[in-house]
């Protein structure tokens, strides 16, 4: 049978994949996609805990409203982030992290 731990481990692995992508990749767009993956992994944890915390015969829906907020914030973050990437591309003609070194000491 599938236990809560199964969901937690899948969520942890998805989060780790996202972290590996953020650290290892150089394309800012792919770093952004990996950030989205990490946010979704956190959502999976919240929903799993929701389902396994049964109160009065129902799942605890408080965490699902938190997931709703997370998804909204992620959507807003993607819109602003992609606008920043487009502005960056206009000045640097590149979306690689190596091209953004102006603040490097």
């Amino acid at each position: 049978m599938i236990t809560l731990n199964h969901y937690l481990i899948v969520s942890g692995l998805l989060f780790s994949l996202g972290l590996a992508g953020v650290v290892a990749r150089r394309n800012i767009l792919i770093i952004y996609m990996c950030l989205e993956m990490m946010l979704s992994a956190a959502n999976l944890t919240l929903v799993a805990f929701t389902r396994f915390h049964v109160t009065d015969g129902l799942p605890d829906f408080t965490a699902q409203s938190l997931v709703f907020f997370t998804i909204t914030v992620a959507a807003a973050e993607v819109a602003v982030g992609l606008a920043i990437i487009v502005a960056l591309y206009r000045t640097k003609r590149s979306v690689e992290t190596e091209s953004v070194t102006q603040l490097q000491g």
């Binding site: 937690l8 780790s16 994949l17 129902l58 907020f69 959507a75 807003a76 992609l82």
Partner: protein
């Protein structure tokens, strides 16, 4: 059978997640991410979170991924073929992620309450109908369906009404910010 579906969708989610990190072409990454989100939405459905699952597909696999693909094609980004690897970053990323994954797996597998399975955490809809005050939710529960969109809505509007308005303001600020950011600056002579 449900456990087989869990492994199938966990494999889809993690496999396409790996493709996002490994693919050299950004379009491949974006489409793999969409598939990964579809697998994740199926996992949400297996947890009886139908509303969140549908939202996941509509917002992530729909809106966000279209935005990503649109930007990739607008900027005309070439794939990274022929470029040298940044060995330090790759080794660092893999080691960091492996350490985190092992840590999470160790903590989760020694977490006692996490051993309850879905059959033990059974939903009792007729009993829940006795506790709810709203007649529309109670009727759905008595009919044997889980009205989770209504229940999430009840939680959002009764307990988190103020937070919902703050989120609305955040979306407004985000929209204004995107318009300001994408406006071309006038040439300064």
């Amino acid at each position: 059978m449900p456990s087989l579906l869990f492994y199938l969708f966990a494999l889809i989610t993690l496999g396409f997640g790996l493709m996002v990190v490994l693919a050299r072409n950004p379009v491949t990454s974006a489409l793999s991410l969409a598939m990964s989100f579809v697998g994740l939405a199926a996992l949400f459905l297996s947890l009886d979170a139908y509303f969140i699952g549908i939202i996941q597909i509509l917002v992530y696999a729909g809106a966000v991924m279209v935005l990503f693909l649109f930007i990739i094609m607008l900027l005309d980004i070439k794939s990274e073929e022929g470029k040298s690897f940044n060995l330090k970053a790759i080794v660092g990323g893999v080691v960091l992620a492996a350490v985190l994954a092992v840590q999470i797996a160790a903590v989760a597998s020694s977490y006692g309450p996490g051993r309850t399975n879905l059959a033990e955490a059974r939903l009792d809809l007729p009993a829940a109908a006795e506790y709810t005050k709203l007649p529309t939710i109670a009727n759905d529960l008595r009919a044997g369906t889980l009205p989770d969109a209504k229940l999430v809505g009840q939680s959002l509007f009764q307990r988190y009404g103020f937070h919902l308005q703050v989120i609305g303001l955040l979306l407004l600020v985000g929209t204004v910010g995107v318009v300001v950011l994408s406006k071309r600056e006038k040439e300064v002579n």
